[in-house]
Symmetry: C2
Subunit: 191 residues, 2 copies
């Protein structure tokens, strides 16, 4: 990725997290990124193109943060750690979670967001389902667990708890404790 | 509730569901409700007061719809039926779910919404926790289930699945099937 393209996406993610999708002005993003509006339109075609690219960018960044989560435990512990990392109270994860939460809510009112949102969400569910299968192969998670089904459930639960955290209803550590407790039930150990 | 007060709240819920909190204009709501802006301000003081009252109104209406769900089964089946009713593809539930989903997402950007949102959400969690306890008393749900903890988890999961349904990622019947499957695990039968 060229650095100017990345600067535009970084500025978009920050703007969405701070003011919401509906307050996003292409001109403001270009200014913060230090590029001309013309260059932004050259890269992303229009506002919808920018939003779709920002969604992918935010998802990729979340993946990097998740991968950086503690990977020293068993496959099951690593999977749980990756999901808990979504509710991490660091500036990077807060910005990412705010932007993702807002993009999902805005898709109701901005139909062009729906297809890229569904695709990005599907990727995340698939990654979690793969991690469940890896844990099953080494008998760390029960083989009775339906990996794609439970992958969908635990990502939806993570989003539901993130929305309560971001709207100030739960502290990050409370949201994490609730998520861990649910994951213990939804991802039972083998045997 | 006077009929004019209710007309204002009904118009607010419809406007929030259709255009979002950030597109809500007090003058438009008054016009749709057939009242003067002065009367609206008399009842609700300001836009924040209107939003808080709309939140309570939407929550009360959801409770009525939930209670109308099939109540012929065991306490556990009734509880599951109440949660599944939140993902019902009827015009009333779609409007309620859209408005609730939008109020939760907007609370990030509208701090005055946070306290009424947290209070309303707490009421719902308490009602679900009570229903779990009722099912436990008659040995329909395992007593090993921590009612307030699981109440919080399953309401957050319901919201997470509703957000995917409302943004077009899941059909209502898919969201319901996933919720039912998760509830079978999170609300195990006794013995």
């Amino acid at each position: 990725m060229t650095s100017r393209r990345e600067a535009i996406l970084r500025a978009s993610a920050a703007a969405i997290a701070e003011r919401g999708v509906r307050g996003l002005r292409v001109g403001d993003v270009a200014q913060v990124a230090g590029v001309s509006p013309g260059l932004l339109y050259y890269y992303f075609k229009d506002r919808d193109g920018l939003l779709a690219a920002a969604l992918t960018y935010i998802n990729d960044r979340s993946r990097v943060y998740r991968k950086a989560a503690d990977d020293s435990g068993s496959p099951r512990e690593q999977l749980i750690g990756q999901l808990l990392a979504e509710l991490e109270n660091t500036p990077e994860m807060v910005e990412n979670s705010l932007a993702w939460n807002e993009l999902r809510a805005s898709a109701v009112y901005e139909p062009p967001l729906r297809e890229p949102l569904a695709r990005t969400s599907r990727q995340w569910i698939d990654e979690i389902a793969d991690a469940i299968r890896v844990a099953q192969v080494v008998d760390d998670v029960s083989r009775a667990v339906d990996a794609p089904q439970v992958g969908l459930i635990i990502t939806a639960l993570t989003e539901g708890l993130a929305a309560r955290w971001l709207s100030g209803e739960l502290a990050a550590e409370e949201a994490r404790a609730h998520l861990r407790s649910a994951l213990e039930t939804l991802l039972p150990r083998s045997g």
